[in-house]
């Protein structure tokens, strides 16, 4: 994969991504690109194919057609489809889950430490024997995790089990988990789901702060228009798995096709 | 050729026994979402009841069997009422383990009530056989096969054509939604456990004449019934029945033609390989988890 496939300044480029289930095309020839450190929104009405698209990006689904170029942490460009799902995080691409997939019985700190899984280099034997190298590694990564939790303001709860924590806290824990791998691109799966107005405004702030502090791009797959319009630098709208429009928040707001997709044809009466 | 026919005829009988037990397991699985490991043990317990009624109480065999069915109904109701009803919050693995606990209870209570000596239960039709295609099948065998098939026919009729059957199938598909729709799921579950227990005692009564009535009476049946469900897939009611007959036939053929010692193990090995390639059974469908 040469650097020609992905321009300088871009971190992700989808090229004609397609996937079908049964006879139904869930994502149809979708293309867009995300710049480094850009906050990019992917919107569309229910069933538009947003989640399917980003499951394809993160290799939870294998697309039928198309390429996904990504510039990893080390500057190397590759096609994500060439990688198995558990290797994606090594490249610096990490995601959250709409249903907040945390491990209930583990403490919040341990949950965040799972995000550092790939950073542990000591062997199983070394861990079993608690060699100095293994102990130091654990301490170092533990401290990093505590730092991230402090940054997100939830370090006081870090020893409590994740199960039973309020939903807003859990979303922050998932976010903390993604930051452990020093990501180049974080994909957020409906992060505003279940949050009230105040929490959503805070979320926008947090997303911007993360982008500024960690220097990563953010792909936001979201329903909540206020969050998207507020925080995104650029937005791509899709419907029926197909590309509709891309542009700045203002441009998307004014786009007739996008309006029709969300509000239906009757909008024309107004 | 006649040996082959003989084997097939025997297998139909074995298959009937397995399918009754497998039906019990699948009914429980689809309504309570529990893999009923204790189906065999409960069947064994109620078969002891039948034997007790027959030998000690001196009832005629057919009456003793009915007595056993009543006891099975009571056992099934009780298990559901005392235990299963209260397991809503329990994880699926833990529910399985509850049935392991049930095995222990029934295997413990049986010698408590009926002593440790093996007992004997005769067939309903003790003598006489019918020649078929160069082989022969005992009248009792015909009775077993016929009875087994009728029970299944009745069950399938009830499931597919009656309101009760619809209630069962709805609960089996999604218990929560069924409850919201007004289906009396509590009753359905209770009935399911009672019916499964009755199927268990019927299987036990058919098995008993071939061996003696001991604690291990239903071990083989239980294992094969479970494997029948695995083979036939847990998604349908008729899959395990199909699986049961296939296992009955395959086992007898393997044991006779290939190896009397390793025949059963070869069957298990075969099933193992089958599971790897078709994890959801002959008729099962994969359920994709949405992320």
């Amino acid at each position: 994969m040469s650097n020609l496939d992905l321009q300088e300044g871009l971190v992700l480029r989808l090229e004609e991504l397609s996937i079908s289930f049964g006879g139904l095309k869930a994502v149809d020839n979708l293309s867009f690109e995300i710049k480094e450190k850009e906050i990019f929104g992917l919107i569309g009405p229910n069933g538009a194919g947003k989640t399917t698209a980003f499951n394809c990006i993160t290799q939870f689904y294998r697309p039928n057609h198309g390429k996904i170029f990504f510039r990893d942490k080390h500057g190397k460009v590759s096609n994500l489809i060439d990688h198995p799902v558990h290797e994606i995080i090594k490249l610096g691409l990490v995601r959250t889950f709409q249903n907040v997939e945390l491990i209930r019985e583990l403490s919040i700190l341990d949950n965040v430490l799972i995000g550092a899984h790939i950073d542990f280099k000591s062997s199983l034997l070394a861990q079993a024997l608690k060699t100095k190298k293994a102990k130091d590694e654990e301490t170092k990564l533990r401290d990093e995790a505590i730092e991230v939790l402090t940054f997100l303001g939830i370090a006081d709860r870090m020893l409590l089990p994740a199960g039973g924590q309020p939903y807003g806290i859990l979303k922050k824990v998932e976010l903390a988990r993604t930051l452990m791998c020093h990501p180049k691109l974080i994909i957020l799966d409906e992060p505003a789901a279940g949050l009230n107005d105040i929490e959503t405004v805070n979320l926008a702030k947090v997303i911007r702060t993360i982008r500024d502090k960690y220097g990563c791009a953010v792909l936001l797959v979201e329903h909540d228009m206020r969050l998207v319009m507020d925080v995104c630098d650029k937005i791509c709208a899709i419907n029926f798995g197909k590309f509709l429009a891309v542009g700045s928040p203002k441009e998307i707001q004014r786009n007739k096709d996008v309006q029709a997709a969300y509000l239906g044809e009757t909008e024309e009466d107004q | 050729m006649s040996t082959f026919v003989q084997l097939v005829l025997r297998s139909l009988e074995t298959g009937s026994i397995y399918s009754l037990a497998a039906l019990g397991i699948i009914i429980i699985y689809r309504t309570s979402n529990i893999t009923h490991f204790a189906q065999g043990a409960m069947g064994m317990f109620n078969t002891f009841v039948v034997t007790f009624l027959f030998t000690t109480a001196g009832m005629p065999l057919w009456l003793a069997i009915i007595g056993g069915m009543v006891s099975a109904l009571i056992t099934g109701f009780t298990v559901d009422f005392v235990i299963i009803r209260h397991t809503k919050k329990v994880s699926p693995v833990a529910k399985q383990i509850i049935t392991l606990g049930l095995i222990m209870i029934f295997v413990g209570v049986t010698p408590f009530l009926f002593g440790v000596d093996p007992l004997n239960l005769p067939q309903l039709i003790p003598t006489g056989s019918l020649p078929v295609a160069g082989a022969s099948i005992s009248f009792n065998g015909i009775l077993n096969i016929g009875f087994g098939l009728s029970v299944m026919a009745v069950l399938f009729y009830v499931l597919q054509r009656t309101k009760w059957g619809l209630a069962i199938r709805t609960t089996a598909s999604n218990e929560f939604t069924a409850r919201l729709m007004g289906v009396p799921t509590k009753t359905v579950t209770m009935v399911a456990w009672a019916v499964a227990a009755v199927l268990g005692v019927l299987a036990g009564v058919m098995t008993a004449p071939f061996t003696s009535v001991t604690l291990n009476l239903m071990d083989g049946v239980q294992l094969n019934a479970l494997i029948a469900c695995v083979l036939g897939g847990f998604q349908t009611f008729y899959g395990p029945v199909l699986g049961a007959y296939i296992i009955g036939i395959a086992k007898n053929l393997l044991v006779y033609y290939v190896s009397s010692v390793w025949g059963e193990q070869l069957l298990y090995l075969g099933i193992l390989i089958f599971i790897v390639f078709r994890p959801y059974g002959l008729i099962g469908k994969k359920i994709v988890k949405k992320v």
Binding site: E87, I114, Q127 | T87, M104, Q265
Partner: protein, 338 residues
């Protein structure tokens, strides 16, 4: 919801606790020699230790990794027979026998692990059960190695070729092995591997997104569980010194499974508590109860009821009964002192 104690604060103490626990266990021979305990207690406690090793392995598989196996007994028996045959027939030194008896079951265990990626839950249970049944049949049939139903004998181990252990020496070996296992497993569980296994159990999707290679960790889980079952089998044959095929049935696998459920999934001390309840309490207490104790099957009934009660009301195991007792005591104290 059980609060996990902050591991990085208590870790040092945890190791010490395991060692102290081992020392306490070593007192049993002393108490027997002093006449304070009956001789049979050595076998009783020894058995608890032996089954605990296998149970910790199963807990790793089922409790922490969420993978079910009904094949524990098969692997234990396989290792037992191999070690017996190696030391008695092949006259190999104990250490070589141990190596053989660990590696062969391990190879089979890894095969099962490979298969496990494609099948789950009940299907995995049936697959492991089939493996165990095939193994048990092998014990019956390969009489040249196993002596079939006559049974196979072995003797107390001879360490490093010259140090012959006696009854008490072997018991101490058992304790040392158990404490070693407890410490190693504790370290692994509280580190990266433990988190990866928990993640695999809790959410395969999240685990994969975080870089956990599912196949690798399933294999690790199966490899460890099988090794511990094999280790347990080796300890069994060299302490109990006799075995025959009916020892290694599904019943034993189920007993070990019950032990970890009753005692505490995902808890090392809980595992030992559970093994004690399932394997020792029947002989120690239940048989002594007047009238009921003499009845056949009584222990079985009690165990069955216990399993059901624990699952319904104490899903994390009886080991947390201690916590509840402490809380209750705290409440009582608060009421008494204003």
């Amino acid at each position: 919801m059980k609060l996990k104690r902050p591991s990085f604060i208590v870790k040092k103490n945890a190791h010490l606790n395991y060692v102290l626990f081992g020392v306490a266990l070593c007192l049993v021979p002393l108490l027997i020699e002093l006449g304070l305990l009956r001789n049979s207690y050595l076998t009783l406690v020894g058995s608890v230790i032996i089954y605990s090793v296998a149970a910790i392995g199963l807990n790793l598989l089922l409790g922490w990794s969420g993978l079910i196996s009904l094949g524990t007994a098969g692997f234990m028996g396989l290792a037992a027979y191999i070690s017996a045959y190696a030391t008695v027939n092949l006259k190999l030194p104990f250490e070589i026998a141990v190596l053989l008896a660990l590696s062969i079951p391990l190879a089979v265990g890894i095969l099962v692990g490979l298969v496990s990626l494609k099948i789950e839950g009940l299907y995995l249970a049936i697959a492991t059960l089939s493996v165990s049944e095939i193994l048990r049949k092998s014990f019956e049939e390969f009489g040249d190695i196993t002596n079939g139903f006559s049974g196979k004998t072995a003797s107390y181990p001879k360490l490093l070729g010259f140090f012959q252990l006696d009854k008490y020496g072997t018991y101490i070996l058992l304790v040392v092995v158990l404490v070693g296992v407890m410490i190693l497993i504790h370290n692994m569980i509280n580190g990266q591997m433990g988190r990866a296994l928990n993640a695999m159990r809790g959410s395969e999707a999240a685990a994969q997104a975080m870089g956990v290679h599912l196949l690798k960790y399933r294999l690790v889980a199966f490899a460890l569980a099988t090794s511990l079952a094999a280790l347990s089998g080796i300890l069994y044959i060299h302490f109990i010194k006799y075995t025959y095929p009916p020892t290694w049935t599904l019943g034993m696998s189920l007993n070990i499974l019950s032990a970890i459920i009753i005692g505490g999934v995902r808890n090392i001390y809980g595992t030992i508590l559970g093994v004690f309840v399932v394997f020792a309490v029947p002989d120690l207490f239940l048989k002594q109860i007047p009238y009921f104790g003499a009845m056949p099957g009584f222990a079985y009934i009690v165990n069955g009821i216990l399993i059901i009660v624990v699952i319904m009301y104490y899903p994390y195991g009886l080991i947390y009964l201690g916590n509840d007792m402490k809380k209750l005591w705290g409440k009582v104290k608060a009421k008494v002192k204003p």
